[in-house]
């Protein structure tokens, strides 16, 4: 089986390192980007099996990144998980409309994140 590659988009260095550590420990190949626009550039230059993104980031936020990804033929149906401190129903609804696959509220359970990745990556 080929190793699945996950793109992690997160502006907090601590949080990005933590998410990267969790996913790499589970055997995934992880590429990190520090804001939405860098994440989009990564997505344009490679093909990822799944995207985990934060919402509040400089330059381009998570919702804008998801909308941009959904315009790209390669990412029309790629699972995208929003991993954010935003917990309101309004934000979740905006995420659903933007095309997010799932919404995880921080602080997050690493095992839950891995379960979801595993499920979405089939």
């Amino acid at each position: 089986m080929t190793m699945k590659t996950i793109l992690t988009v997160e502006d907090s260095n601590s949080m990005r390192q933590m998410i990267g550590y969790i996913l790499r420990s589970a055997g995934y190949n992880v590429v990190e980007a520090e804001d939405g626009s860098k994440g989009l550039a990564q997505a344009q230059s490679g093909k990822f099996d799944l995207v985990v993104t934060d919402q509040n980031m400089p330059n381009m936020d998570g919702l804008s990144l998801i909308k941009a990804l959904r315009q790209m033929p390669d990412y029309k149906s790629t699972p995208v998980i929003m991993l954010t401190t935003e917990a309101s129903d309004t934000m979740k609804q905006r995420g659903r409309e933007a095309g997010a696959t799932g919404w995880m509220v921080k602080p997050f359970d690493p095992n839950r994140l891995l379960e979801i990745c595993q499920k979405l990556l089939g």
Binding site: S12, Y21, M104, K106, D109
Partner: protein
């Protein structure tokens, strides 16, 4: 089982401080507050820590007040690391939402007294203090001032507009309110579910 979230704690109590003639907000364990107004943010810290962070150019600043959940896990993704990073991120996110620039942020950090809550090989205060220092260093946020550890609780007044801090070490405590508050907060973190909700849309 309840979920502990910084946002759920409610808006801190604000009042007029006659001494400094400004509006003041009292920040309790688990709370945070961000403002662009000229006001005072006030807290009393035992083993807990506070990060006071501001953007000197816009004058937008805020303060949090938290401790790490006691956990023997030693992993970069331990419950302590995840909750601590969350407590810092909600403060920083709110600062940025209100117009502060990440590259200009500067921090002043206080608390982590060793005496109030017991600890094992490393005291709770020391773990909290070390976490804030390491988090800020990883994030590249400069520490402009700090007063950590030691044996005394602290009362901190932070004026985000100017960055000024007035700190008083409480060498004698009139009652056990600080310990009680921190103990309740610590128990809430230990006994409740820390992790947030998950929803899969499709």
């Amino acid at each position: 089982m309840t979920t502990v979230r910084m946002q759920d704690v409610g808006a801190p109590v604000t009042y007029f401080d006659p001494r400094f003639k400004v509006q003041a907000a009292k920040i309790l364990p688990g709370e945070f507050y961000v403002t662009g107004r000229d006001m005072a943010l006030v807290t009393v810290l035992g083993s807990c820590v506070s990060a006071c962070i501001r953007d000197p150019e816009s004058g937008i600043g805020g303060m949090n007040h938290f401790m790490l959940p006691g956990s023997s896990e030693r992993s970069p993704a331990s419950a302590s690391a995840r909750y601590g990073a969350y407590a810092m991120e909600v403060l920083i996110n709110q600062l940025l939402k209100m117009g502060a620039k990440r590259s200009r942020l500067e921090a002043k950090i206080f608390g982590g007294c060793n005496a109030l809550l017991g600890g094992g090989t490393q005291s709770i205060g020391e773990s909290n203090a070390r976490f804030v220092q390491e988090f800020l260093s990883t994030e590249g946020i400069a520490i402009a001032a700090q007063d950590l550890l030691d044996a005394y609780a602290r009362k901190v007044y932070y004026f985000p507009r100017t960055g000024r801090v007035l700190l008083k070490k409480l060498r004698t405590l009139r009652n056990d309110t600080i310990q009680q508050r921190e103990l309740e907060y610590s128990e809430r973190l230990t006994n409740s579910r820390i992790d947030g909700e998950v929803e899969i849309f499709r």
